[in-house]
C-alpha cells in the first residue's frame, strides 16, 4: 500500500482508516459535517488525532499508537492541501502565491515563477498573475488556490472542494486539468458533485458522522449504493431491510420486490437494500391492482421541477423518503399537493436488490 492512514479524534467523533495505492485518486463524499475536511487536516498534519498512524510509501507521517508520539510537521509530509477556504497569502501577488511551493522546495526564483505561470495558464488565470489576492473575485481566488496546490507537486494531493465557486465554464476546464494531473499521482479529493467522482476518482469513499459508511470503485458505489447518501448522489431511491424470498422487507413491513444478480443467491434474513430510480415510480390516487407488485401508501412532502419532469417527494414513514419523477401533465391531472396521501407504485423489474 502506498498510503495508509488510521486515526481517531474523539472531540469530533472521528474515526477512519483509509489507504491508497500508487497513482490512485479517491473521492470523499458525505454530508456537511461528516468529517471530510477533518480527514484531510489530519493527513496534512494540521490537526493531531488522539491516536492512529499514517505512512506514505513506507515513510511514517505520524504514529500516536502504543506510546509512540511520532509526529512529522506538515512541511515534511509531502502532502499539499487545498483547503476549503482559498487562503491565498494576502501580501504576495498571485504568481508569487503559486510560486510559493516550488520556492519552498528550493527552486530558484525565476524557475519557480515560470512554473507558477505554467500552472496559472492551466487554470486559465494567467491574466491575474500580477494582482494581489484582495483584488480577485471568489472564483478567481479559488482557481489560483488550486494552481498553488498543484504547483507544490506533492506526493499526495489533498483537495477540499476544488470546484466550489467556479463558473460553468471554469469547472469543466479545471476538471480536465485535474484529470490529467491526477493520472499519475495519489490524490484525495473532497467533493459534493458526483461528476467529480465519476471523472476524477478511481474509488469513492462515503463518510457519515465521522465514519466511513461505504467505499469501492466509483461506478460500483454509484450504481449499487448501500448508503442513503450514496443513493442520493446517484439519484436513486434506497430502502434497507432484510432479504426475503421476493426481495427486501423493510422494518415497517413493506416488501420491495426486485431483481438481483443472476450469479448471487440471497440468503434469507441477511440485510439487504433495494434501489430504484425515481423515474421507475408511478403515482396513483387510489388503491391499485396490476402487474407491479410494489405499491406503497405515502404522504407527499413536496413537488419540484426536475429537468422537464416533476419530482414528487414523499415520506414513507420510518422507511424514509421516496421520490417519483412524473410529467407535469400527470401531476396536474392528479392535482398533487404536499400533504396528500397517494400510492407509489414501482415496477419490480426496475428494482435492484443486493446485500447491504
Amino acid at each position: 500500500m502506498s498510503f495508509e492512514l488510521q486515526a481517531s479524534l474523539q472531540a469530533r467523533n472521528f474515526e477512519m482508516s483509509l489507504s491508497l495505492t500508487d497513482h490512485e485518486t479517491v473521492a470523499i463524499l458525505g454530508p456537511n459535517g461528516a468529517g471530510k475536511s477533518t480527514l484531510l487536516a489530519v493527513i496534512a498534519g494540521l490537526l493531531r488525532p488522539d491516536s492512529g498512524s499514517a505512512r506514505i510509501a513506507g515513510r511514517q507521517l505520524f504514529n500516536l499508537d502504543a506510546g509512540t508520539r511520532h509526529w512529522d510537521a506538515p512541511h515534511l509530509r509531502g502532502t499539499a492541501l487545498l483547503a476549503q477556504e482559498a487562503l491565498l497569502f494576502p501580501h504576495l501577488s498571485v504568481v508569487d502565491n503559486v510560486a510559493f511551493g516550488p520556492r519552498s522546495a528550493g527552486a530558484p526564483k525565476a524557475a519557480a515563477r515560470e512554473t507558477a505561470q505554467r500552472w496559472l495558464a492551466e487554470v486559465d488565470a494567467l491574466q491575474l498573475a500580477d494582482r494581489k489576492p484582495a483584488q480577485l473575485s471568489g472564483g478567481q481566488a479559488q482557481r489560483v488556490a488550486v494552481a498553488r496546490a498543484l504547483a507544490a507537486e506533492p506526493e499526495l494531493l489533498l483537495l477540499d472542494e476544488p470546484m466550489a465557486a467556479l463558473d460553468i465554464h471554469a469547472a469543466p476546464l479545471l476538471r480536465r486539468v485535474l484529470k490529467r494531473v491526477l493520472k499519475d499521482r495519489k490524490a484525495i479529493i473532497v467533493t459534493h458533485d458526483v461528476l467529480d467522482a465519476y471523472m476524477l476518482a478511481d474509488r469513492v469513499v462515503v463518510v457519515e458522522n465521522g465514519r466511513i459508511v461505504e467505499e469501492g470503485p466509483t461506478r460500483q458505489v454509484l450504481e449499487r449504493p448501500r448508503s442513503h447518501f450514496a443513493a442520493g448522489l446517484a439519484g436513486l431511491n434506497l430502502v434497507g431491510g432484510t432479504l426475503g424470498q421476493e426481495g427486501i422487507t423493510t422494518p415497517d413491513g413493506r416488501v420491495f420486490a426486485g431483481q438481483h444478480d443472476p450469479d448471487w443467491s440471497p440468503v434469507p434474513g441477511q440485510a439487504g437494500v433495494a434501489a430504484f430510480p425515481p423515474s421507475s415510480v408511478s403515482v396513483f390516487l387510489g388503491d391499485v391492482h396490476g402487474s407491479p407488485r410494489n405499491s406503497y401508501a405515502v404522504t407527499i412532502t413536496d413537488l419540484e421541477p426536475h429537468g422537464d419532469q416533476i419530482r414528487v417527494r414523499a415520506s414513507a414513514g420510518t422507511d424514509g423518503t421516496l421520490s417519483a419523477d412524473i410529467t407535469p401533465a400527470a401531476s396536474a391531472d392528479l392535482g398533487l399537493a404536499p400533504g396528500m396521501e397517494v400510492r407509489f407504485v414501482v415496477k419490480s423489474a426496475l428494482v435492484s436488490v443486493y446485500p447491504a
Binding site: S37, A41, A44, L46, P49, A73, P74, A83, L87
Partner: protein, 269 residues
Amino acid sequence: MKTTTGYHGVPRWIYAVAAAGGLLVVLPLAAMLLRVNWPQFIPLITSESSLAALGLSLRTSAASTVLCIVLGVPLALVLARGEFPGQKLLRSFVLLPLVLPPVVGGIALLYTFGRQGLLGKSLEAAGIQIAFSTTAVVLAQTFVALPFLVVSLEGALRSAGNRYEAVAATLGAKPTTVLRRVTLPLVLPGLASGAVLSFARSLGEFGATLTFAGSLEGVTRTLPLEIYLQRETDADAAVALSLVLVAVAVAVVGLSYGGRRRTPAAVQS
C-alpha cells in the same frame, strides 16, 4: 482544542534567541531579589508611608486606566477606521507622551492645568484646583499611559479588519450597535493588553507626577515617589519597595493575560 492542534511552526533556533531576550529581563530582576534585605523586608513594606503610597498608587492607576479606556478607545477607533484630514498628525501627537521625558511632560501639564496655565485660569475661576491634588496624579498618569492603550488597540483594530463590521451593518445594526456587539468583542484581547500596559505604565509613573502633582503622603505621593525618596536614605529600602511594585504588576499582568484564550486554531482545510 489546544491538544488537538498539530501545527505550531516556530523554528527551533527562535527559542534560543528568545531565551537570550528573556534573560536580559529576568537576570536583573533576579539580581535585585538577591540583594533584598529580607529580615528588613516585611517591616519596611508594611510601614505606614509605604502602605499609604501603595494604596494611592493602586487607586490612581485604576482611575487613570479607566480614563485611558474612556478616551483611548475612541481615539484608537478614529485613528484605525476614520478618514479625516490630519489623521496622521493626530497619530504622531498621541504618541508623543511616550518620547517626552516624563518630567517635561509634567511641566507641559503644569503649563496647561496649572494655576497660570492655558486652562488653569478658567478652571480656577470655576473653583477647580487641580495642582497638588490626587486629580493631578490621575491626570499625569493618564497623559503618559494613554498612548499605550491607543497603540495596542489601533493595531488590533487594523489587524481585525472591518469585514465583520460591514456584515453587521448589512444586517441592520446601527454603528453604535456594531461597535458594542462586534468591534469591541472582536478586539477584546487587544483592548485588554492595552489596558494592562496602561495600568502598568500608570503604576510606574514618576517624573510627570512629581513635577505636576507634587509629593505629599496620602495625597500625591505614589509608590514610585516613595521609592525615590526612600532611595535617598537607603537604596536597599528602595529595592525592597520596588519588589512590591513588581509583585503588584505581576499579579495584574498575570490575571489579565492568564484568562486570555488562544486565538481559535488553524485552518482545518
